[in-house]
Symmetry: C2
């Protein structure tokens, strides 16, 4: 049965594509308050997005959703859960770490400078990590990497900070590897 | 080998006790900036807490840590990972949801009132959920429940909001069940 995905962030869709899971997307008009409708609150009692329905089973919170599908379809499509318990630990770790500094897209110059300084420090840690393994949790692409794609894409395009990626050899190679995946090409065009 | 736990939040320790894992705790003096020392940054490159060392393996981010130990010691102590893929999905979901509203402990009256109004709505969702299953992810205690213990304890004690728990029948019974666990009695005295 196709997954029914309500207003999903792109990393959830990347995960579904990597796992070769069919899905249909459902738009939820936040401006019209559709996320506060009785019908929607039955699916997601907090009125938040995303939500997926897998048959009768409903799940929210994107980290829960990607893990659920990666586990349920472990042997279909790309293996995304790591090859042992240590790697699975590192996957959760790097999903939690995911670099937030620019998420707020601050408006004033001082805040932008501070935010960029933080991001530089964080990317230095990524550079060191990625000098030791090809992907964040080990030698294979995982949920940790795919969770970074949409935001890094934003950083490189909308925020105009590709240079921060390119001046770090291993981060740059990692970004090339993850951003050239067919799953991202497909999802980025949705 | 005993887990070496650096300045851990209590839900990580509850997890270790539930899994019958021996551990030693290491204090990291943030006021003296010990988290920015070269030695510490080798363990946790962002200079943040908590971190655990399991032999040669180092892991940070509390959600990663509790999951790692629950998985590594699946058949030791309390089973905390749910009995099927759906429950495991719900466990991650409820760990992510964990009610934040009062975490900031706002100081002014308006902010306190707004914060409490939000918390009431959130607790109503918990009440509905817990009317359908004994614990958050199903009929058994899991990582989702233990992740809620320290903050709910704070809410009931320091924040003085026990009434919000007590006036909700199922939340109240759930709180009695999770707060009376020997693991919490032990950890709360550390």
């Amino acid at each position: 049965m196709a997954a029914k995905v309500y207003a999903s962030p792109k990393h959830v869709l990347i995960c579904l594509v990597e796992k070769s899971i069919e899905f249909e997307t459902v738009q939820v008009d936040l401006l019209k308050g559709k996320n506060r409708s009785t019908e929607f609150l039955k699916l997601q009692p907090f009125g938040e997005l995303p939500v997926v329905q897998d048959g009768d089973f409903t799940l929210f919170e994107s980290r829960a959703i990607i893990r659920y599908y990666a586990e349920k379809y472990k042997h279909q499509g790309t293996e995304l859960l790591g090859k042992n318990i240590e790697e699975r630990g590192l996957i959760v770790q790097w999903i939690e770490v995911i670099f937030h500094p620019l998420l707020g897209l601050p408006q004033n110059e001082k805040a932008i400078a501070e935010s960029e300084a933080k991001l530089i420090k964080v990317l230095d840690v990524y550079e060191e990590r990625l000098s030791r393994s090809r992907y964040l949790a080990g030698e294979e692409f995982s949920l940790a990497d795919l969770s970074h794609i949409p935001f890094t894409h934003l950083l490189v395009t909308k925020v105009g900070k590709e240079q921060l990626i390119r001046e770090r050899k291993h981060v740059s190679a990692w970004w090339d590897a993850i951003s050239s995946r067919p799953s991202w090409r497909k999802v980025s065009q949705l």
